[in-house]
Subunit: 294 residues, 2 copies
């Protein structure tokens, strides 16, 4: 994977309306020194982020990603991002994207410790090759996220609904899943309900009905899942947000992990137990997800 492009963004207040934000966007070398050692992103994982897929230069679902960036910022008491400015930064980066699939990452940090303002930047990189995950599927291991289903709503300081830079646990869960012979993890509550994967949403199919765990305070609302549900509804399928017991992982006739860059990865095994992959249907889903979407 190669870094293609990076911008440092000088955040402006959310209520500032301008036609041109280019003087607030500084192109930098993605392989050169850029951030100060005191940046709170690096010191404490204190900030929020989004990852967008880019297909043939088209950034996917810009609106939903920016809405979630603003939502995460609010949960973390960060200043409200100026979404017009972020949109300008995304457009600037997308213009640099090569043909094929890329990733744009947006990062909003609390700033340099004792500094006056947040820091922000954007990167553009080649997407990893996800062909195998999309066709052969991913084996998942269910891992306890440590809390009961009712915790996030009563303990908002746990930031469980925010996409923060504090992803060490998410990365550790993926390593643990690999130790168990799987490819990815799915977090479950300590009282036995399905949450989400460390970097993806989960969707289960029961006949013509598609279910995903309710995106309450405990999980992120997946932008790819949202887009896919709209597509499925248009095709006449039923979709639902529900409290999903762990036993449903085995009961579902098919299941997918959904994320902005890997897109729809069919689940081929749960804790070592094989699960049927609907290859033809998965190909249709990924064809949709690779089409230009806003």
């Amino acid at each position: 994977m190669a870094w293609r492009f990076a911008l440092v963004i000088d955040p402006v207040a959310s209520d500032i309306r301008r036609d041109d934000f280019s003087d607030t966007l500084a192109v930098i070398d993605p392989d050169g020194p850029a951030l100060r050692v005191g940046d709170l992103s690096a010191q404490r994982g204190d900030g929020v982020f989004e990852s967008l897929g880019v297909v043939d230069g088209h950034p996917q679902e810009v609106g939903p990603h920016l809405a979630r960036l603003a939502h995460s910022a609010g949960l973390c008491d960060l200043p409200e991002p100026n979404l017009d400015q972020w949109r300008a930064a995304i457009d600037r980066a997308a213009a640099e994207a090569p043909a094929g699939e890329s990733v744009i990452k947006l990062i909003l940090s609390r700033g340099v410790e004792h500094g006056p303002a947040p820091t922000a930047w954007l990167t553009l990189a080649d997407a990893p090759d996800n062909a195998r995950s999309r066709t052969e599927g991913v084996r998942i291991a269910a891992l306890d996220r440590g809390y009961a289903l009712d915790v996030p709503a009563r303990a908002p300081w746990l930031l469980l609904g925010a996409k923060t830079l504090s992803y060490a646990v998410n990365m550790a869960a993926i390593r643990e899943a690999k130790r168990r012979g799987a490819d990815d993890a799915v977090f479950v509550t300590s009282d036995g309900f399905v949450l989400e994967a460390p970097t993806a949403s989960i969707v289960l199919r029961f006949g013509g009905r598609f279910v995903t765990p309710t995106p309450n305070a405990g999980i992120l609302h997946g932008t790819t899942q949202l887009s896919l549900f709209a597509h499925l509804e248009q095709r006449g399928f039923e979709t639902a947000y529900e409290t999903v017991p762990v036993s449903d992982l085995g009961r579902a006739d098919a299941a997918w992990l959904l994320s902005s860059v890997r897109l729809a990865a069919p689940i081929s095994a749960v804790d070592g137990e094989a699960k049927a992959v609907d290859h033809a249907f998965t190909d249709e889903l990924n064809a949709y997800l690779l089409s230009p979407r806003d």
Copy 2:
């Protein structure tokens, strides 16, 4: 608070023995660009850290801090740090410390995404003025950490015993405590046991007996608490590691938050209920903690 000094460390394998690591330590401008935007510390809070107090140029408890850095690295599947190299870096930084109190921060990151090796750096900065916390004390709010006491041991991927860079929740808890009119938080389990503060250990006094929550997989073993217990034992007091129910916060005749830079901060209130501060005894503790310690 001013940044005084920074070093970028080029990590060498833990088994390399050398008399001189200076060619692996590059002095940098702490206020200038240093880290790449792809560094996983900044992208995902993926790394570990330590903060050491420095008093009149003497770095405190270097051995225990380095031992904990290595322990955290192990829990996060990071390469074992070369402690001789880190010690050389600390010595180099301590030589730049002014009179009075400073902070040395050690950061070991998983490195640049898709890069070959970890990245590491060290900063030296003036310590904040902690006089008021040490004399008047800190009001604390008890906040649910969301998990039951038995969770950390059975879910090591939650990294609850590692000092990772993913501190967004710790920072959010302090903000929540301030919203509640307190100065700091103390985390408690969802089943009602005391854990630790977001950036400190807690010690409770019952007569001549000092108790701190058992540092199992769920909390860090505080270096300052360790040092203080040794001191208290030398003075003839009894010390103990125990499972501490939340009700003990009120029952203790005195209590302190202990950390490497703020040192002993007496707890003056718990959830709005005043607690007696033993000023003379606290002054003695801080006099000890400000003396040169290794």
